[in-house]
Symmetry: C2
Subunit: 404 residues, 2 copies
C-alpha cells in the first residue's frame, strides 16, 4: 500500500496568497457593489513593454517556419540569453560571473523552492523573520524543519533571524550556526535593504562557518540608493558561498510570462563536488527549459530600447511607492521600505493584529494588503502594501486611507 510524503501534512493551513484570494473572493461575493483595490500580492499591472511585445511577435513568427522553428531548448538555457545576463547583470558591475554559471528557468519562485533539493535533509536553514513563505514551506515539504509549534508559529529546526523596527530590519548572525542562509535583498516583505558592507559581513560569515547563502535578488531593479548591492557577487568571497536567484517578474513585468535565472559559481563546492554540477543535473533531469519565445523576450530586456522602457516601468511603480509612503505617513502610520523596493511595510495601528488590520482595511477601505504575520511571527503587527497597482488606484487607495 502506497504512502504519502507526510511532511506535507505538517504544513499549517494553505499558502498565504491562496488564503488572501479566498477572503477577497468571499468579500466581493458578499459586496458586489464595492470596488476593491488590490495592493496585496506582488503582481505587476503595467502591460509588457513595446520592445518585448515586438520581440515576442518576431519569436512567434520564427516558431511558425520550419527553418527557424525551435524544439527543445538547451538544458541550461539559450546561450544568447545567458551571455546577455552575464554581460549586463554581472560583468558590467565588475562581477566575475560567466555565462555558463547561469541557469535559465521559468521563475525565481520555482528556483527558490527547488534549490533546497540539492542539499542534505540534515542541513539547518536560517531565514529572516518575516520571510517569503516559499523558503520555509519548501523546506517543510522536504522534511528539514522539525516540528511545528502552532502557538509560536515556528519550526523547531529552523533558525529565525527577526527583522523588526528594533534592529532596523537588519538580520543578526544567529547564535547557532546554520548550513543554508536565505537572504532576500532588497527585502520582500519589508521593502528594506542593507548596505554593501553589511552584506560583505554576511559573505565573510558564511565562508567562515561553511554555510551557503541563497540570495534572492528579485527586486534589485528597484534599488535607488548608491550603497545598496545589486548582486551578492559584488562582495569579495561570494563565489565560494553564494547562490543568487533572479527574476524577470518585477523588473520586466513577467509575472504571467515566467522567466528567471539562478547563478551558481563553479567555485562553490562541498569537498570535491560543485553545487553547479548538482543543479545542472537537476535541470537536465527534471526540467525542460523555458519556452524559446520567452527566452527571446528576456533577451529584449537587455537591448538599449528594452532597458529604457523597463526603467520607465520601474520609475512608475517607484512613484507609487512614494505616494503610498507619503500617504501613510500623512495619515499617521509608521512606515518602512519603499525606497529601494516596491513594498511598503507599515505598523498596524491601535495594536491590531496583522489579520485584524487586513479585515479592517478590506471592509472599511476595500483595500487588499498582505498581513505581516503571514510572513512569520516577527511580521505580527505589521502589514505590507505593494506599489504594483495602477497609479490611479494607488492614489484612490491613499484617499480612502486618509478618510478611514
Amino acid at each position: 500500500m502506497f504512502k504519502i510524503n507526510d511532511n506535507y501534512l505538517k504544513l499549517p493551513g494553505s499558502y498565504l496568497f491562496s488564503n488572501i484570494a479566498k477572503k477577497v473572493a468571499a468579500f466581493q461575493q458578499a459586496n458586489p457593489d464595492k470596488e476593491v483595490i488590490k495592493l496585496g500580492i506582488g503582481d505587476v499591472t503595467l502591460p509588457l513593454a513595446p520592445k518585448i511585445i515586438d520581440t515576442l511577435h518576431e519569436a512567434v513568427d520564427e516558431m511558425g517556419k520550419a527553418e527557424t522553428f525551435h524544439g527543445y531548448a538547451p538544458d541550461l538555457g539559450y546561450e544568447f540569453l545567458r551571455t546577455a545576463i552575464a554581460d549586463h547583470d554581472y560583468k558590467s558591475r565588475g562581477c566575475d560571473i560567466s555565462a555558463d554559471e547561469i541557469f535559465v528557468s521559468d521563475g525565481a519562485k520555482c528556483d527558490s523552492g527547488n534549490i533546497q533539493e540539492i542539499f542534505s535533509v540534515d542541513n539547518k536553514i536560517a531565514v529572516c523573520d518575516p520571510v517569503y513563505p516559499v523558503y520555509v514551506d519548501t523546506n517543510v515539504m522536504a522534511g528539514r524543519t522539525g516540528t511545528y509549534d502552532p502557538k509560536a508559529e515556528t519550526w523547531s529546526d529552523v533558525i529565525y533571524m527577526p527583522c523588526t523596527a528594533e534592529n532596523n530590519f537588519i538580520p543578526e548572525f544567529p547564535r547557532e550556526n546554520p548550513d543554508l542562509i536565505y537572504l532576500c535583498i532588497p527585502n520582500n516583505p519589508t521593502g528594506t535593504t542593507i548596505t554593501k558592507s553589511q552584506l560583505q559581513e554576511w559573505v565573510d560569515y558564511a565562508n567562515k562557518i561553511g554555510a551557503v547563502i541563497i540570495y534572492d535578488a528579485a527586486y534589485e531593479a528597484y534599488i535607488t540608493e548608491e550603497d545598496v548591492p545589486h548582486t551578492i557577487f559584488e562582495c569579495e568571497g561570494a563565489r565560494t558561498c553564494a547562490i543568487e536567484l533572479r527574476s524577470f517578474s518585477k523588473n520586466a513585468g513577467f509575472t504571467g510570462t515566467r522567466l528567471g535565472f539562478t547563478v551558481i559559481p563553479k567555485d562553490l563546492k562541498c569537498g570535491d563536488v560543485s553545487l553547479h554540477s548538482l543543479w545542472a543535473r537537476r535541470h537536465g533531469t527534471k526540467y525542460n527549459g523555458a519556452p524559446y519565445i520567452i527566452q527571446k523576450a528576456g533577451l529584449a530586456c537587455y537591448t538599449e530600447e528594452g532597458k529604457a522602457q523597463l526603467k520607465e516601468q520601474v520609475a512608475y511603480y517607484m512613484n507609487n511607492a512614494r505616494v503610498i509612503k507619503e500617504g501613510l505617513s500623512n495619515a499617521g502610520f509608521t512606515v518602512f521600505g519603499g525606497v529601494n523596493a516596491p513594498y511598503i511595510w507599515l505598523k498596524t495601528p491601535d495594536k491590531m493584529t496583522s489579520w485584524e488590520f487586513f479585515d479592517y482595511l478590506l471592509e472599511k477601505g476595500n483595500i487588499v494588503g498582505t498581513p505581516g504575520s503571514g510572513f512569520g511571527p516577527s511580521g505580527e503587527g505589521y502589514f505590507r502594501l505593494t506599489a504594483f497597482g495602477s497609479h490611479e488606484n494607488t492614489l484612490r487607495a491613499m484617499e480612502r486611507i486618509k478618510n478611514l
Copy 2:
C-alpha cells in the same frame, strides 16, 4: 558546514540525451563535411500550426495592453484551458474527469520528475525495462532506489518489469508488490502499446494491492488502432488508483513551447488525504503557472481548426514511422513499434550492443539514434529511431541504411 544531497552522487554518468548530444558534437567537430541526420531525441521538427501561431500573436497583443494584460496565472492553470482539456480529452471519451482535477504545467517531463515528491521516500517503485530515464533518475535523487549495481545496471530497491520481444513488450505483474507503478502507453522507447483490456488488468491489480499507477500518455495522439486506450480513465476503477500525465509536446509540437498537464482524480486517496490536495499544495508553493500566452496556445489546439491542423502533423510523422518501419524491415532488421507511436524499436544486428550500434550508425550512416540500453538493461541489444525528423531526412536516412 553544509552538506549536499548525496543521492545525486549515486546517479551513474549523466542524463542519456546529454551524453548523446556530446558524442554527436564530437563527431561533427571531427567530421565537419558529414551531414548528420538526427533521429535520436524525440524532438519535433514541424513548425507550430498556423492556428497556434495566430493565437500566440493574439495573446501577445493582449499582454501589450493594460486592459488585457495578464499577471500571475491561477495556481492550477487557467479555467479556459482546464475546461477544454476536460471536455475534449476526457468527457468526449466518456471519462469522468472534471476541469478541477486537471493541473496545467510546463510539460510532462517536469511533472513526471516531480510527482514522486508527494509520496513517501519508503515507497517502492516499479518501472518497465526499458523505460524513460526520468522516472528512475528522479527517484534516485529522492533516495528511493537503494544501491546501484553497475554490472547489472539496476537499483536494489527498484522493481523492474522487463519488456522485450519475448513477452511482446507487455509488462507482467511483478512478484513483489510495488507502491508506485510507472506505465508509459503508447510506450517510449519501444513504440509498442497494450490493449484496453490489458490496461484494465493493471488498474484492477493496482486497486487490489493499493498501488498508484503513474500513467504517462504523452503519445496518445499517435494511436491508430481501435483497441488501444487513449487515457487510463477509460478503465473502470482508475479514479481510485491512477494519475495521468499528458503533454502538448508531441501532438502539437510544443517541445520548445512547454505545456503539459497532470490529472489527479479526487477519489485517489491515502486514508483521508487526497493526492489531489497534495499536488495542489505543491503547485501553489513551488510553481507559478505556465505563461498566459502559452496556455492560450494550448486552448487553440482544441479548436476545430487547431485539431484539423494537428491531425495533419501527426499524420506527417506517422508517415515517417511507416517509412522507417518498412525501410528497416526491407534492410533485414527486426522492427517493433511505429504503429501507435512515433518510435521504432529495432534489434541491433550481429549481436552488437546498443552503444556499438550507435557508434556504427553514426560513423557509417551519419545517423543519430538512441541506444536501447540507455533506457534500462532490457533495452540492451535494441535501438530507437524516431519519426520526428523531416520527411526528406527520414527518406534519406533509410536510403543510407539500405546502403550500409
